[in-house]
């Protein structure tokens, strides 16, 4: 019998040479006349160990990593397919502490199954949630999601069940489910991992959402930077159609759900839900005034549930195992788990799915292993480019939506970017304004003009010119943007800017005591 070897085809693994490793292993096995089979599965999200090579044994999959193509010969010399000793051997992968300490609910199948293998998906609890949902009426599905405590993982943390109820209660001939797969936040990649690694879970979540609110058409609005996700999603949608999970009569239930992927075009603002809807309609992504809410008047004027990839991909396990199972994880009003993405200057980066309540310090040091450079971590940005920078004194904050608001920070989409002591926080504040200026949709003046002005003012500060006067100006500009912007791009750019200034005044050339918190 041939030995099974597993190598991920996640694009981060590919970015480190997973294809080359797979090729080298295949070639070496052929030379040595060994009978092996290489399977390309999703990634465990242990990116610090990619390219991770796993071998199936009687006691489970054992791992070797990180492997480069030039390690391959030595792997064979050590007889790795029989679990031989090698300096890069990791033992049983499921026993690796980093993985074992996680609570993988949404990411349960990651690293285990092949992304577009529908039989494997079904073997691993796939479509169980859908089957349960088909036995419930729409109100009961919505109630289950409400009871689970699931809040939108796209950033705003709005309760998913409540949003669905609005769509359900709005009468219309056509309704839509729109999956926000724009994942524009830097430091985040969990949406990408799901779409490349376990696309059926997103599809299943969208079908359930359709049943819940009475929508027969879904769109996945996918950022153009993700070509692998595009291919995988389209392949998975075709498979789901061919076996009756999508189409006019889902599992012969009489329910209809059609699904289509639409490509975005590289505008960060199109991650904002109303801008996204404009874009889906074929227009420039100008943010809409609210009300009306998209749940009442959304895509093409029809009631639309817009949800993030992770929100939707979490729905199947809630329907499969029940609201209580999910809501037993977490703390306070933050129920369930959050797929946290460790990024930037850390030793052990990757995907950590944990119940809410884990502290930043645990994530940075126990999981992250401290900085990659070995220098002290000076600041971390949580929640993407509109998230605050946190200093070491705040590292004991638990991941919880409310605890983060208390310190004027956000969790956002769960991305954590660490910086070591070489970072200059005045430059990061300048970048925040610059990013806002580049990505502003231009609809309102505080954002459009304020951000450009912010860059100029930061340039003066960085050059050491009239620092007192200019930091006051930064605060005034931030106030105007906070209070006068239509959406969170202009309205939250002050988070990274002011947190940098308040926590790291020295980098701006001002005394700590002179800055007001």
């Amino acid at each position: 019998m041939s030995m099974k070897i597993f190598i991920s085809k996640d694009s981060t693994a590919l970015s480190l040479g997973a294809d080359e490793v797979a090729e080298a292993i295949a070639k070496e096995a052929q030379t040595r006349k060994l009978d092996i089979q290489i399977l390309r599965n999703s990634s465990r999200g242990l990116f610090w160990l990619e390219t991770l090579v796993e071998v199936e044994t009687a006691s489970g999959r054992i791992g070797f990593g990180p492997i480069n193509p030039n390690d391959v010969k030595s792997l064979f010399d050590a007889d790795f397919i029989k679990g031989g000793k090698h300096p890069l051997a990791l033992g049983l992968v499921s026993e690796i502490d980093w993985l074992k300490k996680q609570e993988r609910l949404t990411f349960a199948r990651m690293g285990i199954t092949e992304p577009t293998n529908i039989d494997q998906y079904i073997e691993h609890e796939g479509f169980q949630g859908l089957k349960n949902a088909l036995k419930l009426n729409p109100q009961a599905i919505v109630q289950t999601v409400t009871d689970s405590g699931l809040r939108g993982r796209g950033g705003a943390a709005f309760p998913t069940g409540i949003k669905w109820k609005t769509v359900l209660d709005t009468k219309a001939t056509q309704k839509y489910i729109v999956c926000n797969a724009d994942e524009g936040d830097s430091g985040t990649y969990s949406d990408r991992m799901i779409m490349e690694g376990d696309p059926f879970v997103l599809i299943e979540g969208m079908i359930i959402a359709g049943l819940a609110v009475g929508a027969s058409q879904g769109y996945i609005y996918l950022r153009s930077e993700y070509p692998h996700a595009l291919k995988t999603l389209n392949e998975a949608i075709e498979k789901a159609k061919s076996v009756g999970y999508l189409g006019d009569d889902i599992l012969k239930s009489g329910h209809t759900f059609h699904l289509e992927v639409r490509r975005a075009a590289g505008a960060y603002i199109c991650g904002e839900e109303t801008s996204l809807l404009e874009s889906l309609e074929g227009k420039r992504g100008l943010v809409r005034f609210k009300p009306p809410l998209p749940a009442i008047e959304g895509l093409f004027g029809k009631p639309t549930a817009v949800n993030n990839v992770i929100s939707l991909a979490t729905v199947p396990i809630i329907l499969a195992r029940g609201a209580k199972y999910y809501q037993d994880f977490g703390m306070g009003k933050s129920r369930g788990t959050l797929p946290i993405q460790l990024a930037g200057n850390l030793k052990r980066t990757g995907l950590v799915e944990k119940a809410f309540g884990v502290t930043l310090r645990e994530l940075l040091y126990d999981f992250g292993g401290g900085s990659l450079s070995g220098k002290p971590i000076k600041a971390v940005q949580v929640g993407g480019p509109l998230g605050a920078y946190l200093p070491e004194s705040q590292f004991d904050t638990p991941l919880d939506y409310e605890k983060f608001s208390e310190i004027w920070a956000i969790l956002g989409h769960g991305g954590i970017v660490a910086f070591d002591e070489t970072v200059n926080m005045a430059k990061m504040a300048r970048y925040a304004f610059d990013f806002c200026a580049i990505e502003s949709c231009g609809k309102c003046t505080p954002c459009r003009v304020g951000s450009t002005r912010g860059v100029e003012v930061m340039d003066h500060i960085i050059a050491g010119k009239d620092v007192e006067k200019h930091t006051t100006l930064v605060r005034d500009l931030s106030d105007t943007m906070l209070n006068g912007s239509l959406c969170a791009l202009g309205g939250m750019t002050p988070y990274p800017v002011l947190s940098a200034l308040n926590h790291f005044p020295k980098d701006f050339g001002v005394d700590a005591k002179e800055t007001k918190a």
């Binding site: 480190l16 975005a264 874009s279 309609e281 930037g344 980066t349 660490a418 990013f435």
Partner: protein
């Protein structure tokens, strides 16, 4: 030099895509993507064709093409090199990498090398933040890119063309 009329090959492709997408709800972005996938850009002289097919004004088509960073109205080089400028990559030295690349290629962002091989573009996160700094060449992402690695990648591109 930009052409003043569409060459027959491009015209045929554009017309095919128009036929395919015309009746789709919200057709403009999918159509622009299809055209750019095949031609590498959306030629300005095609705007009237696109606008009349979708009952839009030329100004609306122009507005959409310019709003989105992904769409180009000018022919790019044979390869697109996108360098991530976002925070995670900055935390691991993307600024120095960016400068290195610009110096090496002798161009700034949104420019194409003299030999027509590479167009350089900024990008804000490739979702590869676990292995920063990241760059993308056409559709392939590369992680933990340093100056040595990028030199190798660039010389591979130059050699191939």
């Amino acid at each position: 030099m930009e052409d003043l009329v569409l060459n027959p090959h491009d015209l045929k492709i554009i017309n095919q895509h128009i036929l395919q997408y015309q009746s789709m709800p919200g057709a403009l972005l999918p159509l622009l993507h299809a055209i750019q996938d095949d031609l590498g850009f959306v030629p300005e002289i095609a705007y009237p064709l696109i606008s009349s097919a979708l009952s839009l004004s030329v100004a609306e088509v122009h507005g959409v093409v310019t709003f989105y960073h992904h769409f180009r109205s000018h022919k790019p080089g044979r390869h697109i090199l996108q360098v991530c400028r976002a925070e995670s990559c900055q935390a691991l030295g993307s600024e120095a990498l960016e400068t290195h690349i610009k110096n090496k290629l002798g161009i700034d962002f949104h420019e194409t090398t003299f030999d027509g091989t590479i167009t350089l573009e900024p990008i804000y996160c490739l979702g590869n933040c676990a292995c920063s700094p990241a760059v993308m060449i056409d559709e392939a992402v590369y992680g933990r890119v340093d100056s040595k690695k990028i030199d190798q990648l660039i010389s591979d591109l130059k050699r191939a063309s």
